[in-house]
Amino acid sequence: MGSQYPQSVRVYLPLWALTWEVAFILLFLFFTSYDTGPLDGRNLQRYHAVFQDVAVMGALGLGFFTSSLRRFGWSSVAFNLFMLALGVQWAVLLEGFLEKSFTVTGKILIKLSSIHQAAMSAMCVLISVGAFLGKANLLQLTLTTVVEVTAFEAVKTAFRHIFNMNQHESMMYIHVFAAYFGLTVAWCFSKSLPKGKEGKDQTATSSSLFAMLGSLFLWMFWPSFNSALLGSLDGRRKAVLNTYYALAVSAVTAISVSALARPQRRINMTHIHNAMLAGGVAVGTTCHVISSPWLAMILGLLAGLISIGGVKCLPVCLNRVLEIHDTCGLHYTFGLPGLLSGITSIMLKMYHVSWTNSPMIGYVALTEIGVLSLAMAGGLLSGLLTGLILKLKICKAHHVTKYFDDQAFWEFPHLAVGY
């Protein structure tokens, strides 16, 4: 059994985490200051509400969303919090360095809005970790967080400077980026579980309920996520309403189609986790321009169908052909609906252009396709890079028999056997 013991990360993990923390403190010391601009009570209330909702989604929602594995609940929730804390600090710095005001003053102004924006960027790590959850240790996740946040910021900067997109539009490609990042890393990890250990990546009643807690928090607060970065009041209102209706439709679709898809006409909890959120993802890029609820509802319906359809049909292809083991069904919750969202955005833009100026239509279509493929390519490439880094010896990767097992990472004082 000796070789199968998880390698101790005793020295490496503290070393890495503390090094990062010290680096952050130093960077914050030299480059940040408070925003001294005027902020009246009403504005504060608005920013604070968004800030709080994003924090709830990141820490609680995404934490428990991935906790459906029966032996991996502790790690899902706790690693999520660690990555959020690390990712936010790094993202605040990166986004600050890329701001225009930094080149002028040499200082990053810390505002409430810069924190919630950074938290949203950090959420790409929390999303993509769903694909290889249970296979990576905390040391590997630290590296993943840093690489992925950097890559995502790079992609966002490209969007904003090359394609002239605003904060909201560039942020909404987070789902496509994170999903393909996660899948690529999972591909690098791919190894089938040894005999006798197959049951570990299954769910159980109580852990499914914990996952439902996370899903419900995500579901409730998704309208805040989609409207957080919009400037105009009208855009925010549309975004909230469209997301709300799309989510409602996708939840209904998820539950009804899930019953239809199973042989005994029973509802599958895992499908519900995956598909109830698809609507919110699918309206992401277009939620501020869709002008009537029925469009959003159709998008929600399509997203729910695609998500459930994906769960039914794609695992065969992904598992057997590509040997990707997608732990939490990330591809169906975020990947496919994210693509749908990108395609909708292309179609809506073309539709708008075709009314006004027809020679531009080809150009617009090309740009939009370029945006979507850049998001995907960015995810795939940085995912590949991360996957290769994680395979290095210094990461202390644990043995395949210890996948999906909390015991490798946690001290269990009283229940060493048969938890």
């Binding site: 101790s8 990360v9 005793r10 020295v11 490496y12 993990l13 503290p14 985490a17 503390l18 990062w20 923390e21 952050f24 403190i25 914050f28 010391l29 940040t32 200051s33 408070y34 902020l39 009570g41 504060l44 209330q45 604070h48 800030f51 709080q52 924090a55 820490a59 609680l60 934490g63 428990f64 906790s67 609940g73 502790w74 929730v77 706790a78 919090l81 660690f82 959020l84 804390a85 690390l86 936010v88 600090q89 810390i110 505002k111 409430l112 924190i115 905390l138 109580s206 914990f210 807690l213 909390d406 990472f409 946690w410 001290e411 004082p413 009283h414 229940l415 056997v417 048969g418 938890y419």
Partner: protein, 429 residues
């Protein structure tokens, strides 16, 4: 238990209603303006702007603190249930006592602000509840809530009105006070027969996940807790930003040190549940001062470190040498980080981050918080020792079934405790 508890609870409730009849009124636009003109002039509708902050604090008190204590395998009902009971009683009593102290015995005008302050006052009891969790009866908790909130209100009045010390997130007046109060009570109520632990004083896999719900709610809403009573909008923004970065930094150091103190580099769930919050406690006193984000990150890192070290080394020492059985480890989550917060406040004032207070007054605030907590805790502990209050016997500690109807079939027992044979507690020789 059958008659004593209902009679006591209803009696208290009737008494509070009568006192409310005589002393409490709603605030009107006129009274709000009068109050605000005293502190700062921002207009009457500022009161309603606090409502979202109040809501966040409310979530922390009832969901956050409630679930944080559900880690014991057979004590989840009591943790959440008694938490609700004492918080609901405490906020009424807190409104009354704090209001009367601040209005010098005249009619109290309640608004959103007093709701926030009342929730704060219950937090002290909930922290102390953590120290004695599993070893007390609901009746004892009612008595403790009444006494502790009274003492807290006195200390808070002293700190805020006499010393005029700055303590916006209440590191000293709530966290350090609540922790040392609870520890003193736990010390007075020491049970020698539980010296070697109790078979129920442990967690199971899912009870720890429930506790994690509490942790995450507290983590997410802590910025609201620290900024709720900041006077100005500017101060509020600073409090939110500082608390957020302190918490983020604290998470990193807590994980790092939790891994470092284990021989095989594994994490400990107890540390993760508690030490990740220490940053919020520690930054409380100076949250609205101009300490810069890096300052709050340093405070958070230190708090995470102190908290993990406390859990690993101090709690066993307390239990064995000082005869204090601290069930939830409140000393490490609230006591030590609260002291760190008090010291940070002194240093920050000395460095000129705030001109509202002086170093001496900050130090006096730390001293008076700890002092009143120890004295109040001692008196309360002696009162709670009176043997008619329905204390559970040593065998019945950490068990819901003494005070609750529990479902006969417990999933956890069957799945998780096959190897453990039912042991009887043996009396100490």
């Amino acid at each position: 238990m059958r008659f004593k508890f209902p009679l006591m609870a209803i009696g208290l409730e009737v008494a509070i209603i009568i006192l409310f009849f005589f002393y409490v009124e709603y605030e009107t636009d006129q009274t709000t303006n009068q109050q605000l003109n005293r502190t700062n002039a921002t207009g009457a509708d500022r009161s309603m702007e606090l409502y979202p902050l109040f809501q966040d604090v409310h979530v922390m008190i009832f969901v956050g603190f409630g679930f944080l204590m559900t880690f014991l395998k057979k004590y989840g009902f009591s943790s959440v249930g008694i938490n609700l009971l004492i918080a609901a009683l405490g906020l009424q009593w807190g409104t009354l006592v704090q209001g009367l102290l601040h209005s010098h015995g005249h009619t109290v005008h309640v608004g959103i602000n007093s709701m926030i302050n009342a929730d704060f006052s219950t937090a002290t009891v909930l922290i102390s509840f953590g120290a004695v969790l599993g070893k007390t009866s609901p009746i004892q908790m009612l008595i403790m809530a009444i006494i502790e909130i009274t003492v807290f209100a006195g200390n808070e009045y002293l700190v805020a009105e006499q010393f005029k010390a700055s303590d916006v997130g209440a590191s000293m007046t709530i966290h350090a006070f609540g922790a040392y109060f609870g520890l003193t009570v736990a010390g007075v109520l020491y049970r020698p027969r539980l010296k070697n632990g109790h078979e129920n004083e442990e967690s199971v896999y899912h009870s720890d996940l429930f506790a994690m719900i509490g942790t995450l709610f507290l983590w997410v809403f802590w910025p609201s807790f620290n900024s709720a009573i900041a006077g100005t909008t500017e101060g509020q923004v600073r409090a939110i930003v500082n608390t957020y970065f302190s918490l983020a930094a604290c998470v990193l150091t807590a994980y790092a040190f939790s891994s470092l103190v284990d021989p095989r580099g594994r994490l400990d769930m107890v540390h993760i549940q508690n030490a990740t919050l220490a940053g919020g406690v520690a930054v409380g006193t100076c949250a609205d001062m101009k300490i810069h984000p890096y300052g709050s990150m340093i405070i958070g890192s230190v708090a995470g470190l102190v908290s993990v070290i406390g859990f690993k080394f101090l709690t066993p020492f307390f239990a064995s040498r000082l005869r204090i059985q601290d069930t939830c480890g409140v000393h490490n989550l609230h006591g030590l980080p609260g002291l760190v917060g008090g010291l940070a406040g002194i240093v920050a004032v000395a460095l000129g981050a705030s001109d509202k207070s002086t170093t001496a007054m900050q130090a006096a605030a730390v001293g008076s918080s700890i002092g009143t907590a120890l004295v109040g805790g001692l008196i309360t502990g002696l009162i709670l020792k009176i043997p008619i209050l329905g204390q559970p016997s040593d065998e019945q500690c950490y068990d819901d079934s003494v005070y609750w109807e529990v479902p006969r079939w417990r999933e956890h027992d069957r799945h998780f405790h096959e190897p453990i044979i039912h042991k009887q507690l043996e009396p100490e020789l």
